[in-house]
Structures are given as structure tokens and as C-alpha cells.
């Protein structure tokens, strides 16, 4: 793809200005790193980092029967959400595989706000619309939002300087519509780093000013802009799934160890029948964490051997800056998918020793 055909976030110029390295991420020209991946990663774990995640998509479902549509297309129980509450959920095909993983925010009884993956947004929108036989409208609203993630133990102290909203009153996975830097913002106590933090949704034309004001407000904490590189290692340590890696159209939530976002007691949802069958038969493969024992890094797509025989594949793998180990996630036959199993990861034609382990790799101190 030619550089000038890549999509840009409203913060594109700001990234260039602070010397970021840009990469093509699913058709978006996105910052992969600024000061350095490991430095940014540590900054988020120890203090606070700021991410531009404006490439993420937003879909709004509004109308008297909005809840019915959200309930039908997603796996988690949207009916249990209170106004101002959010949850992680799945969009599935009828065959039970993932269309996408999403965050569902209940804005009002007749209004839901979905945050979806950048490269899936048109697909998700068409998918949801395809099931809309209800009295509600579905809008692909991504152009109306920039999204910034402020993450790390000092995220709240940083953001609090810029908003009259009492952030300590927003519980984890709740959100509120308030004001940040004098402009309307949806402030969600969510994140994709395994660290405490907030994700804010603002008007694109305000994004650059807010970005700069957050960097200024966080200066006393040593805040740094962070790229997608650190976002990936942070989410991997926290064992958060990444679409296209741990989950995709051929993977169902049980296989991905995401049974907790599936509420089989719901009357119906897209993919329920297939999942019921999967439960009855039992899944054949399951996601499990591993640590490299030999020298090397097991990366996405590498083959995994059990007793010398091909048995699975790596979905994500990286050095863990927090643990100082080489970690990863892989699919293995369900009977073998338990911690403590010796495996080998084939790295550039060489089997290298590894061992399955308990996840998450990293859990933040409470």
C-alpha cells in the first residue's frame, strides 16, 4: 500500500512532530514507538503513558430496541449493564467464530456505544446491521471520535488535573460523559495494558490540543507518548486477546479461553447454537501461555511441537519487558493445554524448548 493511501488519525502531525516511528497497521499510518518500545512499556507499568488509539472504530446503536440488537449480536449480557457501565464482549458468526472482540458501553436505555477494532470496523458495522430487524439505528461513528488511552499507576492523577469529573468515582469498566480540557469527552475506566487507566473519546478536532495538554499534565510523573509496540507487549503480559492473533473467524470464545464473555443463558445470540454444539462435543484446542526455556522468541505463526510432533501454533510472542522472559500464547490440543507442559517452538526451523505456564503473565499490584 502506498504511504499516501494510509489512513491517518487526527494526531498524525503531532506524532511526526515528536519523532515517532510510523508503521502501516491494518491500513493506518500509526506510531509504533517514540522513545523506544521497552522504555515506553516500563513507563506505563511504573508511571503513566499516553496512546493515540484513534484508529479504533466506534459504532453507535440507538433506538427503543437498541438493547435487543446488541443482545443478539454480542455474546456477553448487555441486559445486565447499568447506564454508565461497559463490558468486554464478542461478535460472532453463526458458526461461532469471531467477527471481532468489542467493548460495549451502555450510554442510556436506548443507546449503546461499541468500541471495535480499527481494521474490522466496516465489517462489524455491516455484520451488526445485517441482524437489525429492530426499532433502532446502527451508525458507524468512527469519524466523530478520536480516542486517547492514558494508562499506568499515575494515569488518574494525570487526567484528574484536566477534568472536573471525580475520576475516583468511576469504577473499573464504568464510564461517564464529562469534560476534559474544557471539551466534551466520554471518560471510560478501561484499558488494554493490564494497568490502571482511562480511555477517553473526544471530537477529532480537539484531539491534538488534548494530547498536548495531557503530556503537559503528566510531565511531573514522567509521562511519555507510547506506540503500538508497547501497547502490544503490555496487552500480551496481561493476556488480553488481539484480533487476528488469538481470535479470528476460525476460533470460538471457548477455545480462546474467553468463555467468561459468553452468556449461554441468554435467550439467543448469533453463534449460540454453534457454541452449544462446541460445548457438548468439547473444544479440541485451547489457548495457553508459554515461556521460552531455550534461547529464542516464539512468535506469531510459529509451529508448536509436543513430544516432537506438530501440535499447535503460536498466536503472539515477545520478550516481556516486565518479567525479563520470552513469553507467548499458543493453541494446543485441549488435553495438553495446561501449565507445566514441556513444549517446543519451532524457531527458524529449529525446535526450541519452552513450557506452558499460568496466565496472565503479569497482574498489577492492587
Amino acid at each position: 500500500m502506498l504511504p499516501n493511501t494510509l489512513k491517518k488519525t487526527p494526531l498524525h502531525a503531532a506524532h511526526r512532530a515528536c519523532g515517532s516511528k510510523m508503521v502501516d497497521f491494518g491500513g493506518w499510518d500509526m506510531p509504533v514507538q517514540y522513545s523506544g518500545l521497552v522504555d515506553e512499556h516500563q513507563t506505563v507499568r511504573r508511571s503513566v503513558g499516553l496512546f493515540d488509539v484513534s484508529h479504533m472504530g466506534e459504532i453507535e446503536v440507538r433506538g427503543p430496541e437498541a438493547l435487543q440488537l446488541v443482545e443478539i449480536v454480542s455474546t456477553n449480557a448487555a441486559s445486565k449493564l447499568k447506564i454508565g457501565q461497559a463490558h468486554y464482549s464478542g461478535l460472532l458468526y453463526e458458526h461461532g467464530g469471531f467477527v471481532d472482540d468489542i467493548l460495549v458501553h451502555k450510554v442510556a436505555d436506548d443507546s449503546f456505544f461499541l468500541c471495535v477494532n480499527a481494521s474490522n470496523q466496516e465489517k462489524d458495522f455491516e455484520h451488526i446491521r445485517g441482524y437489525n430487524k429492530f426499532d433502532c439505528d446502527v451508525e458507524l461513528a468512527s469519524d466523530r471520535y478520536a480516542q486517547l488511552a492514558i494508562q499506568g499507576p499515575n494515569a488518574r492523577a494525570t487526567l484528574q488535573k484536566l477534568t472536573p469529573v471525580d475520576l475516583s468515582a468511576i469504577r473499573y469498566y464504568w464510564f461517564t460523559d464529562g469534560v476534559v480540557c474544557g471539551t466534551p469527552a466520554r471518560i471510560a475506566h478501561t484499558g488494554y495494558t493490564g494497568e490502571d487507566g482511562f480511555e477517553i473519546y473526544v471530537a477529532p478536532e480537539e484531539a491534538e490540543r488534548i494530547w498536548n495538554e495531557i503530556l503537559e499534565a503528566g510531565e511531573e510523573f514522567g509521562i511519555k507518548p507510547c506506540g503500538l509496540g508497547a501497547r502490544n507487549t503490555l496487552r500480551l503480559e496481561a493476556k488480553m486477546a488481539l484480533y487476528g492473533h488469538e481470535i479470528h473467524a476460525s476460533i470460538n470464545p471457548f477455545e480462546a479461553d474467553l468463555g467468561w464473555i459468553v452468556k449461554m443463558e441468554k435467550a439467543d445470540f448469533v453463534g449460540k447454537r454453534a457454541l452449544a454444539g462446541s460445548m457438548e462435543r468439547g473444544v479440541t484446542r485451547k489457548l495457553i501461555g508459554f515461556e521460552m526455556r531455550g534461547r529464542g522468541i516464539g512468535r506469531d505463526g510459529y509451529e508448536v511441537l509436543l513430544d516432537g510432533q506438530p501440535a499447535g501454533w503460536v498466536t503472539s510472542g515477545s520478550p516481556s519487558p516486565t518479567l525479563g522472559k520470552n513469553i507467548g500464547l499458543c493453541y494446543l490440543p485441549v488435553a495438553e493445554s495446561r501449565p507445566g507442559r514441556k513444549i517446543e517452538v519451532v524457531i527458524r526451523s529449529q525446535p526450541v524448548e519452552a513450557e506452558t505456564v499460568d496466565t496472565p503473565f503479569y497482574k498489577r499490584p492492587k
Partner: protein, 128 residues
């Protein structure tokens, strides 16, 4: 960054320093910057034969693994032991202390195929 005039370069971002029939090979500053935090360096053993344009090892950063291609053909005389214990040196001093291997060239005329510092500078300038 100005690239040292005494080195010759490849479009795959390796450099070589020729001294008699020996050549020292490394990766460029541009390469280390593109890779980011380097965590592993895989190199051939002393005595191994390498060929111009063919991969002889790899450099791995937190986010990616990248092959290293040989600027010239030859036989490996020495491997930089420093990089086994301190791969991050490649981020700090790619044109100096963090060289990769020294080889005895078997086809010294191949040097002509390599880029000068100015040509390489222009090439990475155009690429970025």
C-alpha cells in the same frame, strides 16, 4: 546521522569495513533504529562460509526478527562475543563495538557492488 566514509553499505542495511583481505560486517544505524530494542543476535560459527547477498544470521528486537545478508562472500574468522551477552550494544554502537563478524573475503572484487556512504545516505533518506 552521517555514515562513516570508510565503510561500504548494502540496501539491506549492512556495512562492511575492508582491511586487506579481511572484512568486518555489521548492521547500520538505520537498521538498529528500525528494529528498536535488540534482544538477540544469531551469528554463524567461526569457519562458516558466507555468500554475498545470502543471509548469514539474524537480529531480533522486541517487536521483530530480521535477517542479516552478507555484503561479501568469505569465511568467518571471528564472531563478536559481546553480542551474545549484550545484544543491546547494537542499539548503542552499531558501526563500532557492536560489529557482527569478521571474514576473510574470497571474492574481494564484490566490494564494487556495495554503496558508498553518500549513496547509502541518499538511499535511506529516500526510503524514510
Amino acid at each position: 546521522m552521517t555514515y562513516p566514509d570508510n565503510l561500504r553499505y548494502t540496501k539491506e542495511h549492512e556495512w562492511t569495513l575492508v582491511e586487506g583481505d579481511a572484512a568486518t560486517i555489521g548492521i547500520t544505524d538505520h537498521a538498529q533504529k528500525e528494529l528498536g530494542d535488540i534482544v538477540f543476535v544469531d551469528l554463524p560459527k567461526v569457519g562458516a562460509k558466507i555468500e554475498q547477498g545470502k543471509t548469514f544470521g539474524s537480529v531480533e528486537s522486541v517487536k521483530a526478527v530480521s535477517d542479516v545478508y552478507s555484503p561479501i562472500s568469505g569465511e568467518v574468522l571471528e564472531v563478536n562475543e559481546l553480542l551474545a551477552s549484550a545484544p543491546e550494544k547494537l542499539n548503542e554502537d552499531p558501526h563500532g563495538a557492536a560489529w557482527l563478524i569478521k571474514v576473510r573475503m574470497t571474492a574481494p572484487e564484490q566490494i564494487k557492488n556495495l554503496l558508498s556512504a553518500q549513496e547509502y545516505q541518499d538511499y535511506v533518506g529516500a526510503e524514510s
